[in-house]
């Protein structure tokens, strides 16, 4: 029990610190012993007002949302059928397990390797600094998660139920659409959440490929290091804005998370 509480404290501290910082004035940030609000410093909403009034920040939040949601939808659209195919059918030349691992191996690729080629590709397509461009990139990286997680989920759908549907007259597509998918809703939620969170938090490509128009929150935060080097109270607000959506959403999908994140390693 003690350990759990210690753990909880350990987890919460940075969150609280961020909130703290966001309530400080610029000068207060680096003052020693300015830790407890009201007691050691006077909290103010200045930083919040400033940041929330900054249209660029709002634009970034919007971009982040758009890109993350877009990526999630695209990934689910392409990845889920593939996952079902890998879960239910056998392939002649390769085991579906190996194909799944191949998808997963895409994650090994250091982003840096493809950074330049991707940039050039987007440039040629006229998609630099656009939401579409980011969505394209992010979908590629996150497809693996969708395939691996959903494959595992689909394999748990009772084969007998699918056979019953077949006997009742359902076509292969109808079985997928009317039986397998509805019964895998849990997995879809987890996958959607994970893809959403990882898209939302991605920084490297976001900062490389966007500037004014489609910058996401992480890109903005990275950029503001150089432009506003020491305004950490503003940064704290940005931090809170940036981490809030995925973290809050995570509370809602708690139930499904453990199951979904086992990547097919846990049987039964």
């Amino acid at each position: 029990m003690l350990i759990a509480c210690a753990g909880a404290v350990w987890v919460i501290i940075p969150f609280l610190w961020a909130i703290n910082n966001s309530l400080k004035t610029h000068a207060d940030i680096f003052k020693p012993h300015a830790i407890i609000p009201f007691l050691q410093f006077t909290p103010t909403l200045d930083a919040w007002n400033f940041v929330l009034g900054d249209p660029q920040v709002l634009n970034c939040l919007f971009s982040s949302t758009l890109v993350s949601v877009g990526t999630t939808l695209l990934v689910l659209l392409i990845g889920t059928p593939a996952a079902y195919s890998l879960a239910r059918f056998e392939f002649r030349r390769m085991k579906s397990r190996d194909i799944t691992l191949w998808f997963l191996s895409q994650r090994v690729l250091p982003p840096v390797v493809v950074l330049v080629p991707f940039y050039i590709l987007l440039a040629q397509l006229g998609l630099v600094d656009t939401w579409t461009g980011l969505i394209l990139l992010y979908s590629t990286f996150n497809l693996a998660f969708c395939v691996v997680i959903m494959r595992d989920i689909f394999r748990d759908v009772s084969k007998e139920v699918e056979e019953a549907a077949r006997i009742e007259g359902a076509s292969l597509w109808q079985i997928f659409w009317m039986i397998a998918l509805p019964l895998s809703l849990d997995g879809l939620i987890v996958t959607a959440f994970i893809v959403f969170a990882f898209s939302w938090n991605e920084a490297l490509f976001a900062s490389a490929v966007t500037s004014q128009h489609a910058a996401t929150m992480p890109a903005f935060i990275l950029a503001s290091r150089s432009t506003r080097g020491v305004d950490f109270n503003f940064a704290a607000v940005n931090t809170i804005l940036a981490i809030a959506p995925p973290v809050i959403l995570s509370f809602f999908v708690q139930r499904y998370l453990a199951r979904g994140l086992s990547f097919g390693a846990v049987k039964g």
């Binding site: 007998e160 139920v161 549907a165 006997i167 007259g169 019964l183």
Partner: protein
């Protein structure tokens, strides 16, 4: 209603033969039971009829049509699974209406047919519930309802009662029989329980290792098993098998306390095959205790009682004859021998079965 013909049907998975040379022609509306231990091929055979497995060799005809290339939908069969396989995300009505909806029947008609089927099975009041809210028996009925609502040509049932507790099972057995008689649909029923097979089937197919051992009415299987396997499989408690010497005098014996006289025609067969040893089979229920005053019988088995198991209206005893020969006998309740008592049992001539030790076939 249809006649189902299976002609030389085989199923192979690579090198493994699951079903070999299965031949059967049903009559219209017949209740056929496929029975045998796990892995004997009964479920595989049924799945081939359903279209869930492809046939390696042979042909299957339903209602005169060869179903080889047809997907399950086209075969017009319905199946009840061991685990019911109800669609968890639909309510009972949805489960039963699923097939009809796929066929794009008008809503009113679907409503009608589902209601009718639900009434037959007594589940009209459950139509709005989801499977997880139902008991095992109720789920079973829904599975049956889903099967009958389409009015298919053939019913296929894969051990539908194995997940139900014993008491309910007997009740459901009767209901399934009544249902089948009422609807008159040709039915295949798979089970590993020979009691179920015997009590339900018009004809029973006993299978082992992918092959049909015998096809016949329950009576035929009981009275005239073709081989040792069928003889031992049918009937509970199982038939006693004793290795015996063939005597010059037309007896088969395994010692002084075990000497039987099979019918003359049988011994003729034994002599023709030139066998020195045979398997002798006697059913426990055919062994009787010789009472005072009864005429002595030729077929006597003597031994010491080792185990006495009262079973209500009968008593199962285990007799130790000739040293280490164990024989089971099912006696009427009034006669309850004590452990250690010496007992004489006799059996009628026609209840002595003789089997060829080499081929396990019954000698007749």
């Amino acid at each position: 209603m249809a006649v189902v013909e299976l002609d030389k049907v085989s199923k192979r998975y690579g090198d493994v033969v699951a079903v070999q040379d299965f031949n059967l022609t049903t009559s219209d509306g017949e209740f056929v039971v496929l029975v045998g231990p796990s892995g004997c091929g009964k479920t595989t055979t049924m799945r081939m009829i359903a279209g869930l497995e492809l046939i390696t060799q042979g042909s299957i005809k339903i209602g005169g049509r060869d179903v080889a290339g047809m997907i399950p939908r086209e075969r017009d069969v319905a199946m009840v699974f061991q685990n019911y396989a109800l669609f968890p995300h639909m309510n009972v009505f949805g489960n039963m209406a699923f097939g009809l909806r796929l066929r794009k029947l008008p809503k009113a008609q679907i409503e009608n047919q589902v209601q009718r089927a639900a009434k037959i099975l007594g589940i009209e009041n459950l139509l709005n519930r989801k499977p997880k809210e139902l008991s095992g028996g109720q789920r079973q009925r829904v599975a049956l309802g889903r099967a009958i609502v389409r009015e298919p040509q053939v019913f296929l049932m894969d051990e539908p009662l194995s997940n139900i507790d014993a008491k309910l099972r007997v009740e459901m057995r009767g209901e399934i029989i009544k249902l089948q008689r009422r609807l008159g649909v040709t039915t295949f029923y798979v089970t590993h329980d020979q009691v179920e097979a015997m009590s339900m089937g018009d004809r029973v197919v006993v299978m082992l290792d992918g092959r049909i051992q015998q096809v016949g009415t329950p009576r035929e299987l009981y009275r005239k098993p073709t081989n040792r396997y069928v003889a031992g499989f049918i009937g509970s408690p199982a038939m006693n098998f004793v290795r015996a010497h063939v005597g010059e005098d037309g007896t088969v014996s395994a010692g002084d306390d075990f000497r039987l006289f099979p019918p003359g025609s049988v011994m003729e067969g034994v002599r023709k095959l030139g066998l020195a040893e045979v398997w002798v089979g006697v059913r426990p229920e055919h062994l009787k205790i010789r009472r005072e005053g009864e005429p002595a019988s030729k077929n006597v088995i003597r031994g010491t009682v080792e185990v006495v198991e009262p079973q209500g209206s009968t008593t199962l005893i285990q007799l130790n004859a000739c040293g280490d020969l164990r024989v089971n006998a099912l006696l009427e309740e009034q006669l309850e021998p004590a452990v250690g008592a010496r007992l004489d049992l006799w059996v009628g001539d026609d209840a002595v079965y003789v089997f060829n030790p080499g081929t396990d076939e019954r000698i007749q």
